[in-house]
Every structure is written in C-alpha cells, then in structure tokens.
C-alpha cells in the first residue's frame, strides 16, 4: 500500500462527506478509499444520489472531506485553506461541466485564456496558447465568437480547451456529455480519449451512460456513498 501511495496521483483514504441540513445529516460519502494512477481514465458511475458529484467535487478540491484523507500529487488537501485550494485548482486541475459553463460575455479566446489570466500570463503568450488549444479542439475559426453563437458541442469543446490551458495534472468532468446528443457526445468523448491516450492526461469523469463509460480505462461504481466495485477495462 505504501509503495502504491508513492506513485499514485490521487489517493482517497476512508473519505466521508456529510452534509448538515438543519438538524438532519445527509451522508453523501461514507468511507471511500481509492488510488488512481497517472494516465488513467476513470468513469465514475452509479445511480442518482449515490454521491458521484460529491466525490468529483472533493477530487476537484472544490470541497473538503468531512473526515478521511485526500492526497493529490503528494499533498493532503484536507489541510489546505481556501486560498491554497484555489491555487491547487489553478495549477493542477481542469474542469469540464455538464452545462459547459463558459462565461457568456467573453469570447472563445477569452474563455480559454481564463486560467492563464489567473496564472498571471502576459497577453501575447496567453493568446498564442489559446489559439493552439482552439486548434486542438478544432475551433480555430470560432476564436472570436461568443458562447451564445456556438452549438452545444462546440461550447463543450471550448470548455475542454479551457480545462487544458493550465496543463492540468488531472482533468475532472461531471457528465460532460449530459447536455449533448449522442453523436456530439461521442465526438467529445473521442477528444477526451485522445487526450488520455496521446498526452497521458489523467481523467476522472462522472457519467451514468454505459456507452460513454466505454471510453474509460477504469470503471468505478458507487452506491449510497460507498464504492460498490471497480474494474479495469482496458
């Protein structure tokens, strides 16, 4: 276990997440332990309310576990304050959301540049990097458009480009195809799979669609906030 910890990118140790709703307590995660290696592509699955999003939010450092440990790239997230968590997200993580979450008043370029802005990049290199990424996701011709002028699939491509801007250690995606039709969804998945294959990006993705999960290298099944089972598929 110890030797595995040393090389694992993500390690969860008996992670609990309990939401207090007034006097009631909701146990969203009840003791999750897991190690994820660099370069793997995980699909987190399970019925609605099983804690998939909760787990992804914890993995994405948007939240901290109520108890247990989360070690990302050798760092215990539970010990970090809000500023440090922000810093961690900025330098190590990239997010892709179900509803794209682009900023409507910004152009494609500016949306992709957002992480670079917070990283303090100068305007020129930042614009160059944004263009490279737009080309990577096949949207170079939409560089100056606004999200409203793009289709859902195109918007999600922009979101993928943005999530890659800071060259993250881990990509997190919560139902990235949830708002897309089957064909478009597949295109996005192929893009992610390519990132995983060619660039070796570690991807943690929540989905409840089995055929979307086929793109992943590992499947994790949650039930009532616990790991039901997990398997390596390829």
């Amino acid at each position: 276990m110890a030797s595995q910890t040393a090389q694992s990118l993500v390690v969860l140790e008996d992670v609990h997440k309990i939401y207090a709703m007034g006097t009631q307590q909701v146990r969203a995660l009840g003791g999750v332990s897991l190690s994820i290696d660099t370069g793997s592509f995980w699909a987190i699955m399970g019925p609605s309310g099983s804690g998939k999003s909760t787990m992804l939010n914890l993995l994405g450092c948007l939240d901290r576990p109520t108890s247990g440990h989360y070690i990302l790239n050798g760092q215990d997230v539970a010990l970090l304050d809000d500023d440090k968590l922000s810093e961690l997200r900025l330098r190590q993580l990239g997010f892709i959301f179900q509803s794209f979450n682009l900023i409507p008043q910004l152009t494609v370029q500016e949306n992709i540049e957002l992480p670079l802005y917070y990283l303090g990049w100068e305007a020129r290199p930042s614009a160059e990097r944004a263009r490279e990424l737009a080309e990577l996701v096949g949207l170079a011709d939409r560089f100056y458009h606004r999200p409203m002028e793009l289709s859902g699939g195109e918007q999600q491509r922009v979101a993928v480009a943005r999530s890659l801007a800071n060259d993250p250690v881990v990509l997190l995606a919560d139902e990235p195809t949830g708002n897309l039709d089957t064909v478009t969804g597949r295109q996005i998945m192929e893009l992610l799979a390519e990132l995983n294959n060619k660039q070796g990006k570690t991807i943690l993705m929540v989905t409840h669609e089995p055929d979307i999960a086929t793109y992943a290298t590992h499947h994790l099944h949650l039930r009532d906030g616990r790991i039901d089972r997990w398997e390596k598929t390829s």
Partner: protein, 421 residues
C-alpha cells in the same frame, strides 16, 4: 506588466458593465448628480463668501475704523426749535490713541462736510474729506492723475484738493484739469490729483466714497469750523463734531483685536455717552469665514446626501449583478480564482462606474455654476480642491458601496455557485 494588468482588468470591468448599458448608465447618472451638485453647491458657497471677504478686505484687515455716532437723544431736546448736539470724536481722542496705545502704527483723523462743488459750468454734491496725507497710505487706492495730498499741503495750509474718478467724470475734470480750481462753498481749491475709489456693496462701508473730495484736515477745520448747521422743516439743527472718523492702523494683524479693545476702553473713559462706533474689518472677516464654513458644511451635506443616494444605487446594482453572475463567479472560483481576486474584479467594476459618474459629474458641476453666473449674475467659484474632493469621494463611494457586494460574491460557495441557474 502591472500596468497592462490593471488596464486589462479595467477593460474587463467596462465590458461587464456594458452587458447592461441602460442599467449601468442609470447608475452612473446617480453619481453624476451627486458629484455635480457637490461641486456646484460648493462653488456657489465659495463665490458668495469670496465676494463678502473681498469687500471686507477693501476696508483693510489691519485697520480699525472709529466712526462718530449721534447718540440717542432725550425727549426734551426735540421740543426745542433750535437743537444743538455735541458729539463725536475729538482731536484729543485721535492724539491719545496714536500716542498711548503702543500697538498702533498710525492714525488718520477725518472730518466730513457735505458741500456743493463747482467746476466751470458743472456742479455736484461732494463729501469733503478733511484728512492727513496718511489717509492715502491706509486707504491705498490707485492715483489716476496728479498726486495725493502731501505733508507740505498741510504745513502750508494749501487749498489743495483731490477728486475721485467719479467726481472727475461728473465735473468733467480731466488730466488737464490738474492745477485748475474747484469752488467748494465760497472757497477755491486747486485740483492736485484724481484718485480711484473702491466702494463695497452689501451693507459694508468703505472709508472712501465716490463723491469724496480730499483736502488737508487743518484747511477743512479753518474754512468750515467744527459746527455744522442743518435746517430741516423749520427747525434748525446744530451739530458740533470735531472728527467724524478716525482710521487706526495696527502694527500687526494679530494685535488688531486687543487694540480695538484698548481703544474702546479709552474712549469709554473719556466719553460720557456712547457717541462713537468701533468697527473691526478683521472681526467681520473672521465672522464671514465662519459663516462660509457653516454654509459650505450645510451645502456640502445636502450634496453629500445625493452622493449617498448615488452610492446606494451602485450597491443595489452590484448586488443584482452578483446574483445574476453567480455562475460566472462559480466558474472563476473553480478555475482557481482566489476570493480576493473576485473581490477585486467586482470592486473595479464599481470604481469604474463611480469614477465615470464622477468625471461626468465634474463637467456638469463646472457647467452649472457657469450657467448660474450668466443667468442669475451670482458669483460662483469652482475651486480645484472641490473637484479633487468630488473625485476622491466618487472613488471612495465606489469602494465603500462596492465592497459589500464584492465580498458577498467572493464568499459564495463555488459548488453552489456553479449549480446556480
């Protein structure tokens, strides 16, 4: 690098504000009126007080003016057909003030007689001012032609006289008139010079008037005596007055008040009735300054309230904006923006709003006083400090009223913010 970053942030702020042009515009309008009214009100206040102070300054802030005043008469006197009143300042008073009060630099005794003056065909009613050459030092006015009275005029008891600009115009005296003679009563006086007058309005009396003609004091005393006879509706009124006025110049400005007190004490000792009045321009000046301060505070607070309203408008809009852009805040936080960066972003937006409002407000605040001056003939002065103050206030309003919405935005839970519709 720091520069370009600030520039980028401001540009982003403007871009965000442009999402709702009308809304941002109306918010700016609140600031425009606030800042505009601050500057306009202060300029009206400043103009009014500057005018008052200018008039008081004409009296000389180092001077004290003692004026003879006819005391309130007892009833028995008014029944008599021939009334005789003896009052006013004495030659002796003037000498005592000059010689015994050490803080006094110099004194000018003044005798005033109303007489008609003739020059050629023309005539006018003059106020003959019998005085010493020191007058022209204390009441420093521009000499337009010729010269002022000299010590030699006094010594030689010369029948020399100085006309005012106004008098010269009425009597058609010019540069060439110097040397000609003006007839005053039965006597002839040589015109030695023409001098300017500066008369103040608004209840303040300067020592000089437009109808003055200045002659040596000893000549005035010799020709006209100390007795003035006035006939009114069958009654004859006789007044015996030695000096009508004494101007006192104090050595330094901080001794003015104590000197005035000393003079008062001395005169009270030697005069049975209060037949004199001491006026201290400096005291008036101080009073005017105090009034100005109150005036400015009152006007400023009224304008300040409109700024407050403008600020509340900004806060209201920013709170709405934060709610509206909750998801954007969530996105930025997820990407890695720190709380203080979110605060900074929204603060910049409010500061941009309030500063634009402030700048337009300054333009309006400068225009309004100008219109007031043109239309209402009211003096207004836009001081640079009021503009700086208004600009400072508008930036502060942006910070103060923007801080709460910005902090609220930054404190949002990123997960909840991302889920917000």
């Amino acid at each position: 690098m720091q520069h370009s970053r600030i520039f980028r942030n401001v540009r982003l702020g403007i871009k965000n504000l442009m999402i709702h042009k009308l809304r941002s515009g109306l918010t700016v309008l609140g600031m425009v009126f606030g800042v505009g009214s601050v500057i306009a009100m202060l300029s009206v206040g400043e103009g009014a007080s500057r005018e008052a102070m200018e008039q008081i300054r004409k009296l000389g802030s180092n001077n004290i003016i003692i004026t003879a005043m006819k005391p309130v008469e007892d009833d028995s006197a008014s029944i008599q057909r021939v009334r005789m009143s003896i009052y006013g300042l004495l030659y002796e008073d003037e000498r005592r003030i000059r010689e015994t009060i050490p803080t006094v630099q110099q004194t000018v005794p003044i005798k005033l007689i109303r007489k008609d003056g003739y020059l050629g065909e023309r005539s006018m009613e003059l106020r003959i001012v019998g005085t010493t050459p020191d007058w022209f030092e204390l009441v420093a006015r521009k000499v337009l032609a010729g010269r002022v009275l000299s010590q030699r005029d006094t010594e030689k008891k010369a029948a020399a006289c100085l006309l005012t600009e106004h008098g010269a115009r009425r009597l058609l005296a010019t540069q060439n008139t110097i040397g000609e003679s003006v007839r005053i009563g039965p006597d002839h006086f040589e015109v030695v010079g023409i001098i300017q007058t500066e008369t103040a309005s608004g209840g303040i009396q300067t020592p000089d008037q437009e109808v003055d003609a200045y002659i040596p004091l000893n000549v005035a005393r010799e020709r006209y005596g100390d007795m003035v006879v006035r006939r009114t509706a069958g009654a004859q009124e006789r007044e015996l007055v030695e000096l009508h006025q004494v101007l006192v110049q104090v050595r330094s400005i901080d001794q003015v008040e104590s000197t005035a007190e000393a003079i008062e004490k001395m005169l009270r000792h030697f005069h049975q009735k209060k037949d004199y009045r001491i006026s201290v321009p400096l005291a008036l000046l101080k009073q005017a300054e105090a009034t100005k301060r109150t005036f400015n505070i009152v006007l400023g607070s009224i304008a300040g309230i409109s700024l407050l309203v403008g600020g509340i408008g900004i806060m209201n809009i920013m709170l709405a904006t934060v709610t509206e852009r909750t998801r954007e805040i969530g996105i930025r936080r997820a990407i890695g923006a720190k709380q203080r960066q979110i605060i900074g972003q929204f603060l910049i937006e409010t500061i941009v709003l309030s500063t634009i409002g402030g700048l337009i407000g300054i333009v309006i605040g400068v225009l309004i006083p100008w219109v007031i001056t043109v239309l209402a003939q009211m003096p207004t002065i836009v001081t640079s400090w009021s503009i700086l103050l208004a600009l400072g206030i508008s930036v502060s309003v942006g910070i103060i009223f923007g801080l709460y919405p910005a902090v609220r935005a930054a404190r949002l839970d990123p997960i909840a913010a991302l889920r917000h519709e």
